[in-house]
């Protein structure tokens, strides 16, 4: 496990010192949507300074796990707990979870027409930190974060995901993560729809954020590809609503060589 001893800060906005350790404990969680059972007893603990990867075939419940942890109203948790630093979050509204420090990078980011990315994110940052941030100072941070992700700064003034390509949407998710500095980030297929260059940039963005903030990351993916850039500490294979095997980084390579069949 890697713990950054002295997270670097770049400017006044991203200067919040993190407590050294945050933990999200998922205990035997069962969840369903429209009466269909999707999660069937999943347990997993993610802490600061850890990158976990969940891999698994389509329909194994990976995205559902993300939505359940963030509090999507359509998903019903029928059993189990999710504790953030010991506090049960399952009864909380999504925004309360965000304020605790949870973040979800969406597989399919949503368009919000007419609401500029910069504006939206400034209010988001203010809501999460409970502090006022002037637009000028915020603009500086935004500019730096978007440029790191190879995005033109004009994105800041565009509607949230409005007319963005698939790759641009994913970069924007990571730019949001970089600005919001979550304690635990859930990244749902952040690699899908990215070409190789974009994948590298997005991965670098995630790594940089990880190093700077020492957050915990749950990386959900279909493919081993992104793991060429992001080195997980723990790899889990998910199938039919459960984690059926866990291991170190080497498990991902095994999966790549053998496919899921061996495990499911």
């Amino acid at each position: 496990m890697k713990i950054a001893t002295n997270p670097t800060t770049e400017n006044s906005i991203n200067s919040h010192q993190r407590p050294t350790m945050n933990t999200l404990e998922i205990i035997d969680i069962h969840a369903e949507v429209d009466g269909q059972k999707i999660l069937k007893g999943l347990s997993l603990t993610i802490s600061s300074g850890q990158i976990h990867t969940i891999m698994g075939p389509n329909g194994s419940g990976k995205s559902t796990l993300c939505k359940v942890l963030m509090g999507h109203p359509k998903y019903e948790v029928t059993k189990g707990e999710a504790l953030f630093n010991g506090e049960n979050i399952l009864e909380m509204e999504p925004e309360e979870r965000a304020k605790l420090g949870l973040f979800l990078g969406f597989q399919h980011p949503i368009e919000i027409a007419g609401v500029t990315l910069g504006n939206f994110l400034r209010h988001s940052k203010m809501a999460i930190t409970g502090e006022k941030i002037g637009p000028v100072a915020f603009m500086k941070t935004m500019k730096a974060k978007t440029e790191e992700l190879g995005m033109h700064r004009s994105f800041i003034g565009r509607g949230v995901n409005e007319g963005f390509s698939g790759g641009e949407k994913k970069r924007t998710e990571i730019a949001q993560m970089a600005v919001l500095e979550p304690k635990i980030a859930l990244l749902d297929e952040i690699d899908s729809g990215l070409d190789i260059d974009a994948l590298e940039i997005v991965s670098e963005g995630i790594n940089k954020n990880f190093e700077q903030t020492n957050c915990g990351i749950l990386l959900i993916t279909h493919y081993q590809r992104i793991l060429n850039y992001i080195k997980p500490h723990h790899v889990h294979i998910m199938h039919d609503g459960r984690i059926i095997k866990s291991g170190g980084a080497e498990l991902a390579q095994e999966l790549e060589d053998n496919g899921y069949k061996k495990y499911v």
Partner: protein, 473 residues
């Protein structure tokens, strides 16, 4: 960066009522006609105003037309409107003033609460303030007077400029146009009369504010704007009223003439209380290479029926109508736009956006007409509706009458229901459901809001936020 919803969230929470303009003012009107409409009431209005004989005759003729025309069967439901239970004329003070200090203090205070004298100082070239039936205060920058600009209440203009008045009055919207234009023609009182001489550009907006104060009041302002060759003007009207349990009526007629190469922008920020029937006729004639732009924002009222029109009468004329309507519980905004292309190479653009929540109803009713001989016409129409819950309703009735082949017309319409996924996305970023919904509504309305002068754009954004407080979805 422009302003965003959550900035004023605390303010919203502190606001007890959604409608902050609903306060009443105790007044001592100098004259109040008995309720209901009769020839005697009309004669008394004319007598009080000391009008020329022709105007009294015009009123009485219009009254006859009004009596003959049936209530409209289309549009919103006007059945509950009891026309016998309306005061058709209330005179709040003796004469119109040009100094706020001469306006009765309770009326002056009312306009101060509405921010009118402040706006006048800060960014207006001229100001009119109408209370009940009469304009109580009027001003115009001296530099504009020196250039020959006329900005008066319509009553004053009839006295001071009888020939100019008679030349244009009722020429764009005749009394027999519809039931409510006939009513207005019979009992009109107040409103603005504007004349912009050839080549004069009025840089700052002129504004008139219309305040209904009494219960069961009928306000019938009459506005006439004449823009001469190559001249330009931006006129803004604002309207509010106290909240009562029974209905009031606002029925204006607005006539505009834009001559060759002239430009007129007419901006409305209507924020009536929810007991007002707002039945308004607005129409502009645009001649060669002239431009008419209606920017129309409808928040509030019980029922609004309003379809600003532009008749493109000269080659190269351009008409644009942008409107934003917000319908909450028990409200119906039946609004739209009409463009008549009566000359070649004329162009038009219509943007209509409506937001409905808590069972509110929004209707877009539009007409694009291209007359024979009007070749090379271009028109673009976009109507978008945003529904915030399953009880709300949106309808679109676009009509096209095209008598020429050589035309390019595009029509787009969308109805969107505010999505669980959109709300969830914003909530995962720390915004609560109300902030999220408010942000989505503001984003939806933004293309129209950004057309308003900055001061009004801020006010509008805030108004939308106030409308958004309370339950969502």
């Amino acid at each position: 960066m422009s302003r965003v919803p959550t900035q004023t969230h605390d303010l919203i929470k502190d606001t007890l009522s959604n409608y902050k303009f609903g306060f009443k003012t105790e007044t001592k009107p100098v004259y109040k006609a008995p309720k209901g409409l009769s020839e005697e009431v009309i004669r008394e209005i004319s007598r009080q105003k000391d009008e020329p004989e022709w105007m009294l005759e015009y009123r009485l003729k219009a009254y006859e037309i009004f009596k003959k025309k049936p209530m409209p069967e289309w549009g919103g439901n006007v059945k509950a409107l009891d026309l016998d239970n309306i005061y058709y004329y209330i005179r709040p003070q003796d004469t119109e003033k040009t100094d706020w200090n001469e306006v009765p203090s309770e009326i002056k205070t009312t306009f101060e609460r509405l921010g009118i004298p402040q706006a006048e100082k800060e960014f207006l070239a001229g100001t009119g303030a109408q209370f009940e039936s009469e304009v109580v205060y009027h001003s115009l920058h001296q530099s504009l007077k020196d250039q020959g600009v006329i900005f008066e209440s319509t009553d004053e203009a009839l006295k001071k400029y009888p020939e100019l008045f008679k030349k244009y009055f009722g020429t764009v919207i005749p009394a027999h146009d519809n039931k409510f234009s006939a009513l207005n023609s019979a009992v009109w009182s107040g409103g603005s009369f504007i004349y912009v001489p050839e080549g004069v550009h009025i840089e700052l907006p002129l504004q008139a504010y219309f305040r209904i104060n009494a219960e069961n009041m009928g306000q019938f302002e009459r506005t006439l704007i004449i823009v001469e060759k190559g001249a330009s003007i931006h006129y803004i009207e604002g309207c509010t009223a106290p909240t009562y349990s029974s209905e009031s009526l606002h029925s204006a007629v607005v006539e505009i003439i834009v001559n060759e190469g002239g430009r007129c922008q007419y901006t409305t920020i209507q924020n009536w209380s929810n007991n007002i029937y707002n039945l308004v006729t607005k129409r502009a004639f645009a001649y060669k290479n002239a431009e008419m732009f209606w920017l129309d924002c409808n928040i509030g009222s019980k029922l609004t029926m309003k379809y600003p029109a532009v008749y493109l009468l000269g080659e190269g004329a351009r008409g644009e109508i942008q409107s934003l309507a917000f319908s909450g519980a028990k409200q119906h905004q039946d609004t739209g736009a009409k463009i008549i292309h009566a000359a070649p190479n004329t162009s038009s653009k219509i943007v209509s956006k409506s937001v409905c929540k808590d069972g509110g109803r929004g209707t877009y009713r539009g007409l694009i007409q291209v007359n024979k001989g009007a070749t090379g016409v271009k028109s673009h129409i976009a109507c978008d509706a945003l529904l915030l819950d399953g009880d709300s309703r949106s309808d679109t009735y676009p009509t096209m009458k095209i008598e020429e082949d050589d035309v390019a017309i595009a029509h787009e319409a969308t109805v969107t229901k505010i999505g669980e996924e959109q709300l969830f996305y914003l909530q995962t970023r720390g915004l609560d459901e109300q902030e999220a919904a408010s942000m989505i509504v503001n984003g939806f309305a933004k293309p129209i809001i950004k057309e308003f002068p900055m001061e009004y754009a801020l006010e509008l954004t805030r108004l939308l936020e106030l409308e958004m407080t309370g339950s969502v979805g």
